[in-house]
């Protein structure tokens, strides 16, 4: 790879790592706006991570090293996934044929270690949260795979970066139904993976309504900082999958593209905040139905690519 | 001109009767319009009307037979119906209770005449899509008739009838669209034009379209396995209405299938269609046979007998050649006999107030003696005992089957007929013979009035006469129809 490209891809990854907590601030501000409040500052997550990194964690007596390793491995997996993600339609730091599968399974790994850490505490409450989380993943993962498969068929390549850089060369007029359906399916999966409303309420205080929060609840200090930061980066990465369909590389210079893309992500965060404010959380039994909608959309998208 | 009159007269009479308050005037209009229809039909015996509305309406040989049967049937039904409506009115006046409230008599007469009118449109229609419109219209006109007695059971029957037949007919519409696609030559879907241009028709579309048409209209015709609405609707409707449904409406659906078949013959797909006909004909006969055996409701038994006869009719068309003659003859006989049987069933029901076979014995004795005689006579006629036209029809079909060396078909055909005969014999014999059991709720004022007996008796007489002697008019018409459909 040329030096310029390498520098640029390092810049991309740094941008992702630096800017992603900002999106959470936007979401919270949007929700506050809808609720008529002023809301927390835009850089709140940065402050939180900084504060938490200086605290020490409290561990219970029943845990083992798995519990301690959980957040670390999780963050490591997310950061590895960051290496694979395209930015503004440009290639990522690492890309190879079939890296979609690695990408999706890195998320699986994150979820896996989170579940293990939760089960490690020996509490039945954590077990409940873990089982709920995994149940939703069962429906979300096939949908994600199928959507990616549809995109791969459209572009003819199987590398994440290559797909998203080719997406803009392919005319929207012929493939618009596929794109729209895939965007819809991945958006639903995004909401599920990031534990947003309507799947899960990230701000809930009631333990019985928690799904993802359950697994996070026991961590403190640096561990919690890792988890929060990891979820912010995960938000960005999964958001790229959706926003990348709409905001890609155009022929202008990379600076324009980058700023456009960041603006696109901010817009995306707006939309997520709006969705969170407008919708109500689904009943627990209805969440699989919601995810099956995503599955149906991705199957349809794949069917349309076979014309 | 005549064709228009045949349609307009009952149409306007029907629409007007919705608004007439006075029962006597309405009943007068009722009989008057169906009588006028019969007179106009008899005019067609002497001179066939020409094409009307630039070929959209015409009366060919096939239609002529259907028209005669329908018109006769309706007239007999209106005669019987007058007395029936009168009895119903008296009954509801004597025992005013809401659980047996009847539909407004105006609605009944109105829908009745509208049914006659729409059936006439079906018979005359030469445009394939307009035929569809008319058949759907007959479904809608007959639905309120089934729900005359407002009971839960008749409501269920009406709902099933509405939904199943409408879905079937929607399928037929899809089939018609397929036909339109196949008809690449011209845009006109007139029967004659399609037959003429049949050589250039796209065969796969025509095949698929015909299949859909067959399934759709076959649902309305009562072929198994699409017949599921038939036993319910024909048994829960008042007997007058059942007579019409069995005797005339099923024929209209049959006509729809025949029109499609005519196009297929011209396009050279007749063997494909005939296989379908034979298959479903045999299936219908077998279904009917199985369900008649254990039957406990005599009107349901008559309904299944209709399924069986529709199977026989379509089987005859499927065998082709001379069997078409037998098939149409059988249809003629079946319509008249089944209508007569339903009229008698109505008498029995108004006396015994039950539809359960086990509760009725000894019909030949007591006040129901004429009905009992007719009941048994009808049984003999419908199962094809010798002087009946149905016998002749079945015999001709059988002969053709043997001629064409369709031995398995013959075997199943005869076997099915045999089982039906056994099942019906058990029922009819047990109902007519035996000591007169005190009925569950006998109606003490029942009398076998002439007007209740005469229509059935006349119909049966006609069937017997047709079995023995054909007027040349009938022969010409039947032969002409057989030529169009026989695929010689």
């Amino acid at each position: 790879m040329e030096t310029i490209d390498m520098i640029r891809s390092i810049l991309q990854s740094t941008l992702i790592l630096a800017v992603s907590p900002f999106l959470f601030g936007i979401i919270n501000r949007t929700k506050a706006f809808f609720a008529g409040r002023k809301g927390s500052p835009l850089l709140q997550l940065y402050y939180d991570i900084y504060k938490l990194s200086r605290k020490s964690a409290v561990y219970s007596r029943t845990i083992t090293r798995v519990f301690i390793a959980g957040p670390i491995v999780g963050l490591g997996a997310i950061l590895s996934a960051t290496m694979l993600v395209p930015f503004a339609g440009r290639a990522s730091f690492i890309s190879f044929e079939g890296d979609i599968i690695l990408f999706i399974y890195l998320f699986g790994l994150t979820r896996f270690v989170a579940v293990l850490a939760a089960l490690d505490t020996g509490s039945s409450f954590e077990g409940m949260g873990a089982s709920r989380e995994v149940q939703f993943a069962v429906f979300a993962e096939p949908a994600l795979f199928l959507s990616m498969a549809a995109l791969a068929r459209v572009t003819g390549v199987t590398s994440l970066s290559a797909i998203y850089s080719n997406l803009n060369a392919i005319s929207w007029t012929t493939w618009s139904p596929v794109f729209l359906l895939v965007a819809g399916a991945i958006f639903i999966i995004f909401l599920a993976e990031n534990s947003r409303i309507p799947v899960d309420d990230p701000n809930t205080h009631l333990e019985l309504t928690m799904i993802h929060e359950v697994m996070v609840l026991d961590h403190g200090g640096v561990d919690l900082a890792f988890i929060l930061y990891g979820s912010a980066v995960k938000f960005w990465i999964l958001g790229t999958l959706v926003a990348g369909i709409f905001f890609g590389a155009h022929s202008r210079g990379w600076m324009v593209d980058y700023s456009l893309f960041i603006i696109g992500m901010v817009l995306f965060a707006f939309i997520v905040g709006a969705v969170e404010s407008v919708l109500a959380r689904l009943r627990l039994l209805k969440v699989p139905h919601f995810l099956i909608v995503a599955l149906a959309l991705s199957v349809l998208a794949l069917a349309f690519t076979m014309r | 001109m005549l064709s228009i009159a045949l349609i307009i007269v009952p149409l306007t009479a029907g629409l007007v009767s919705f608004f007439i308050r006075n029962d006597h005037y309405r009943r007068g209009l009722f009989i008057g319009s169906s009588g006028a229809h019969l007179i106009l039909t008899s005019l067609t015996w002497f001179r066939r009307p020409g094409m009307a509305l630039s070929g959209w309406f015409a009366l060919d040989d096939v239609g002529f037979i259907f028209l005669t049967v329908t018109s006769l049937l309706f007239f007999g039904a209106t005669l019987y119906g007058i007395k029936y409506l009168d009895d119903e009115k008296r009954r509801s006046r004597d025992a005013p209770g809401d659980n047996n409230a009847n539909v407004n008599e105006a609605v009944f007469s109105g829908c009745f005449l509208l049914l006659l009118s729409t059936m006439t449109i079906v018979i005359f229609s030469q445009h394939i899509a307009f035929l569809w419109v008319a058949i759907e219209a007959t479904t809608l006109a007959s639905a309120p008739l089934i729900y005359f007695h407002r009971t839960k059971r008749s409501l269920e029957a009406t709902w099933k009838y509405l939904l199943i037949c409408s879905v079937g007919i929607a399928l037929a519409l899809l089939g018609i669209f397929f036909l339109a696609v196949a008809n690449k030559n011209g845009q006109d879907m007139l029967l004659m034009k399609m037959i003429e241009g049949a050589a250039g028709i796209d065969a796969p579309w025509l095949k698929a379209g015909f299949l859909l048409l067959f399934v759709g209209y076959g649902t309305k015709m009562g072929l198994a396995p699409f017949h599921t609405w038939l036993p319910d609707a024909h048994s829960e409707a008042p007997s007058v209405v059942s007579a019409l449904l069995s005797g005339a409406l099923l024929n209209c659906a049959f006509l729809g299938i025949l029109r499609g078949y005519q196009i297929c013959i011209a396009a050279g797909l007749s063997s494909y269609c005939r296989e379908i006909f034979i298959l479903f004909g045999l299936v219908s006969i077998l279904f009917a046979a199985i369900f008649i055996l254990g039957q406990s409701d005599y009107k349901r038994m008559l309904a299944y007998s209709s399924v069986e006869h529709m199977g026989i009719i379509i089987l005859g068309v499927g065998l082709g050649g001379g069997a078409v003659f037998g098939s149409l003859l059988s249809m003629l006989g079946h319509s008249l006999t089944k209508a007569g049987l339903f009229f008698v069933a109505g008498n029995i029901f108004s006396y015994y107030k039950t539809k359960n076979i086990a509760d009725i014995k000894g019909l030949i004795r007591g006040p129901t003696r004429w009905s009992g005689v007719l009941w048994f006579a009808g049984f003999l006629l419908i199962t094809g005992t010798l002087p009946s036209a149905i016998f002749l029809g079945k015999f001709i079909i059988l002969k053709e089957a043997l001629l064409r060396q369709q031995y398995w078909t013959t075997f199943i055909f005869l076997g099915g007929l045999g089982i039906v005969f056994i099942g019906m014999a058990r029922i009819f014999v047990s109902m007519t013979q035996g000591g007169r059991r005190t009925a569950i709720a006998e109606s003490p004022l029942y009398r076998d009035d002439l007007i209740k007996i005469v229509p059935s008796a006349l119909f049966f007489l006609l069937v017997v006469i047709t079995g023995l002697y054909f007027p040349s008019l009938l022969t010409h018409a039947l032969e002409g129809a057989a030529k169009e459909l026989g695929d010689f």
Binding site: T173, T174, S176, P177, L180, L181, P288, H289, I292, V293, L295, A296, V299, L300, A303, F304, R307 | H127, A129, F130, W132, V133, E136, A137, T139, L140, A143, P144, Y147, R150, K152, R153, L155, E156, T158, W159, K160, L162, L163, S166, V167, A170, L173, L174, F177, A180, V181, Q187, M189, D202, W205, A208, P231, D232, S235, F291, G294, Q295, S296, R300
Partner: protein, 219 residues
């Protein structure tokens, strides 16, 4: 032009799926109404050249009937019967949704099997029309409330009509109007029947309508 027809077809497809997975009857009625309006607009989209006056009148009448009159009748029936939600179908709503997707795949395959007549520039319209047809049949078969069955019947007819529009089948103006009139009277009569059912049974659950059968062991 091509993509507009595609987009319309996809919208119809998604609406079918929405109807299959929805349990609220008012939602279903609104979707059917919207579908009717879209279908009425289809000829304007498919014909790139000018449309005959008759076809235009027919489209307007059909939009008026399917988009406004039918929902009015259905909402009235819903008010009379006093129902809001449908009973859970066999297999649940997710299964209905997946069946809808499966039906689309089947119709896609079917229309590739039919000898294709190049009359419409999009190859999505025919599969969607078949799928609408199947969806209507599925709704009739799978749902318990009589009102939903009527909605299924309307969807069925919509599918047949869309097939006609897709292949540019032009019937004489009178015939098309007559077909529309037929469907109108059918819905009207069915609405009356639903009214009677709700009065007779105090609900419109068609599971009540299973008294008539053969070989019932009454002895």
């Amino acid at each position: 032009m091509n993509s507009l027809i595609d987009l319309l077809s996809i919208t119809i497809l998604l609406m079918n799926l929405m109807m299959l997975s929805s349990s609220r009857i008012s939602t279903c009625i609104r979707i059917v109404a919207f579908q009717g309006i879209l279908f009425g607009l289809m000829p304007f989209v498919i014909h790139s050249h000018a449309i005959a006056l008759g076809a235009m009148i027919y489209s307007i009448v059909s939009i008026g009937l399917k988009g406004f009159v039918f929902p009015w009748l259905l909402f009235r029936a819903q008010r009379e019967a006093n129902i809001r939600k449908e009973v859970e179908p066999i297999g649940g709503y997710p299964l209905s949704l997946l069946m809808g997707v499966a039906m689309f795949l089947v119709s896609f395959w079917l229309s590739s099997r039919l000898p294709y007549i190049r009359t419409v520039s999009s190859d999505l319209v025919m599969p969607v029309s078949f799928m609408t047809f199947f969806t209507g049949a599925f709704i009739i078969v799978g749902r318990m409330k009589a009102l939903t069955q009527v909605i299924g019947y309307l969807v069925l007819e919509n599918g047949v009509y869309l097939f006609g529009a897709a292949l540019l089948i032009e019937q004489p103006f009178l015939v098309e109007l007559a077909i529309l009139l037929d469907i109108f009277v059918a819905v009207f009569v069915m609405g009356i029947a639903i009214f009677h059912i709700s009065r007779e049974f105090d609900n419109i659950d068609t599971q009540n309508l299973s008294q008539l059968k053969d070989w019932v062991n009454t002895k």
